[in-house]
């Protein structure tokens, strides 16, 4: 077995036993990146010397935490003091973060080594990583296809074995959808489980940081490292993280699995549905019980999301004005011209569209019709989930209606791109946790992974890991690798 093929758990164990050094692991992953990156485009930038220096420091000391010496990649919207943080946008070219995100502090406290920064849709707005202004990322299973988005670089890097794991962010599916497209495990924690301090904000009431990893155990280890209350994020919840890894082996006897009928009422590829239904049968065979349930307001989730997410984005991105950081247009005559040209030159098309839509739904005369109305729809969607979780422990759905689509297929049609998130968005609106794992493969010229989404109640991540752990014990999909 080559070093880059390790999982996080294997890497941590071998470093702890001093069978390999953290420096060896970083070197192996750097070599992998150098070989694959020109074609894959999963990484935006990395500092080999800095990563090796961190690894040497870990090698020179006794283990300081459970991820001691394990290299992990970060999406390029997370702040690391002194490092570039471009959000794959022109407007942040050259910007260096002045402080560490809380998740970065926590990863370092756990002993992890920061490997490099992954590609993404600009400001996390997109579902294909094609809105990155640097380059699109390709799907390791088929280079003609997208890895999904917006954390497409994180998913592709993990699937291609350039990194053992990566952090991403998920506002409407941006961890789970690329995890499904690339054959990874991706987890969006309960809103408030993980501090957002140091994450460049897209839609603050929806954003969560979470892991992309090769299996559920790795995701559990990383979630444990990054969770917990943070005085610098007033929306973080007070709960200390429970032992997620222990939950993996607890079994699922008598767990109730809810199948929301609105997610299975047509609109998904037949072979995707077959793979998901086969996974449900596997879980039933392990002692769980499947029941049909209803989330009656599902059909309004995408529309409500694109009102609320764009409204929040238009406010959050107002800070990019050419004054304090980032690019400024050359020689503006006055401040108004500086704002207008800086933002027009600095933002790409999708970010501009969302700022305009968000400004529109908040503008005088439209605020009540769209924004306030969507907030009330959000209440109904939350209520759907609360009622569903009175009847069952988790919900099972496909993560996406179809496997990875082709580069260029949807980029000219923003509405079609938005509808790619149809199964993932409601969890963000409700604030519940959700995990995607691979439940099979389908043929589309090449073999492509299919994602099963497990949605849990608020702070129900342990139940997600019970289901994911049981499923991975009974299947081998998560061991499949692209690119050899």
């Amino acid at each position: 077995m080559e070093l880059h093929e390790f999982t996080v758990s294997e890497a941590a164990a071998t470093v702890r036993r001093r069978e390999v050094s953290s420096t060896d692991l970083v070197r192996a992953l750097l070599a992998r990146m150098e070989a694959l990156e020109p074609a894959l485009g999963a990484m935006l930038h990395w500092d080999a010397e800095a990563a090796l220096a961190e690894a040497r420091a870990r090698d020179a000391e006794p283990p300081i935490g459970p991820l001691h010496g394990v290299p992990i990649a970060l999406k390029d919207n997370l702040s690391v003091k002194g490092q570039f943080c471009s959000c794959a946008s022109r407007i942040l070219q050259g910007y260096r973060a002045p402080y560490d995100a809380t998740v970065v502090e926590k990863l370092r406290q756990a002993g992890a080594v920061l490997l490099g920064r992954t590609n993404m849709d600009e400001f996390a707005m997109g579902s294909s990583t094609e809105s990155s202004v640097i380059c699109p990322t390709r799907n390791p299973w088929d280079f003609e296809r997208t890895p999904g988005g917006s954390s497409g670089g994180s998913a592709a890097a993990v699937a291609a074995r350039e990194s053992f794991a990566a952090l991403g962010s998920d506002t409407g599916g941006s961890i789970r959808q690329p995890a499904a497209f690339c054959g990874c495990v991706g987890l969006k924690p309960t809103y408030g489980r993980v501090s957002r301090y140091g994450l460049v904000a897209f839609a603050s009431s929806l954003d969560q940081i979470g892991p992309l990893a090769r299996d559920a155990q790795d995701a559990a280890r990383i979630l444990h490292a990054i969770s917990g209350p943070d005085p610098r994020d007033s929306t973080s919840l007070p709960d200390a993280p429970p032992d997620f890894v222990a939950a993996l082996g607890r079994g699922i006897r008598r767990l109730k699995l809810g199948l929301p009928r609105e997610y299975f009422s047509g609109g998904m590829d037949a072979d995707v549905e077959q793979a998901v239904r086969a996974a449900v049968r596997v879980l039933e065979g392990l002692g769980a019980e499947a029941v049909e349930i209803s989330l009656p307001h599902t059909e309004h989730a995408v529309a409500a999301y694109y009102v609320l997410a764009t409204a929040e984005a238009s406010a959050n991105l107002a800070r990019f004005d050419g004054v304090r950081y980032g690019r400024r247009a050359e020689n503006p005559a006055d401040p108004l011209e500086m704002y207008g040209r800086t933002r027009a030159e600095g933002f790409g098309a999708e970010v501009k569209r969302r700022i305009i839509l968000g400004t529109y739904v908040l503008s005088s005369g439209y605020h009540d019709a769209y924004y306030l109305h969507a907030q009330k729809v959000r209440t109904l969607i939350r209520r759907d989930f609360r009622q569903a979780f009175e009847r069952c422990d988790v919900l099972l759905t496909p993560t996406t209606p179809s496997p990875a689509f082709k580069l260029g297929e949807k980029i000219q049609d923003p509405l079609q791109m938005y509808l790619a998130d149809i199964f993932t968005i409601a969890a963000n609106l409700a604030g519940v946790c959700a995990l995607s794992l691979t439940c099979g493969f389908v043929e589309r010229e090449k073999k492509l992974p299919v994602g099963l989404q497990i949605i849990g109640p608020w702070m129900g991540e342990e139940t997600l890991f019970r289901v994911a752990g049981a499923y991975e014990q009974a299947s081998a999909w998560h061991k499949e690798a692209p690119l050899g």
Partner: protein, 96 residues
């Protein structure tokens, strides 16, 4: 309340301080009209008597002790400024 679905991209872009080209304005006008037609579906849903949800978790008035703590130095805060002078952010002249 004005009739929705009549998005005027040129006007809204100006509110958002985005100086779009004519070509972008035309392209976004078509795309955003289509998106606004789609999001209008939520208005068919009766939400009478429903409270709005602003946040995913029910927490409010979260405070911490009002205690002084180290924060960014002036040098760190200014390090990314496109134009700076004398410890200040420089902007084009505001008043003639």
């Amino acid at each position: 309340m004005s009739a929705p679905s009549s998005i005027d991209v040129g006007y809204v872009a100006q509110l958002a301080r985005l100086k779009l080209s004519e070509e972008e304005t035309r392209r976004f006008q078509g795309q955003l009209e289509q998106i606004v037609r789609y999001i209008e579906q939520i208005r068919r849903l009766d939400v009478a008597g429903i409270e709005p949800t602003a946040h995913a978790v029910d927490r409010s008035n979260v405070t911490r002790d009002d205690a002084a703590a180290p924060s960014l130095s002036s040098e760190e805060a200014l390090a990314n400024a496109p134009v700076r002078a004398n410890g200040l952010f420089m902007v084009p002249k505001v008043i003639e």
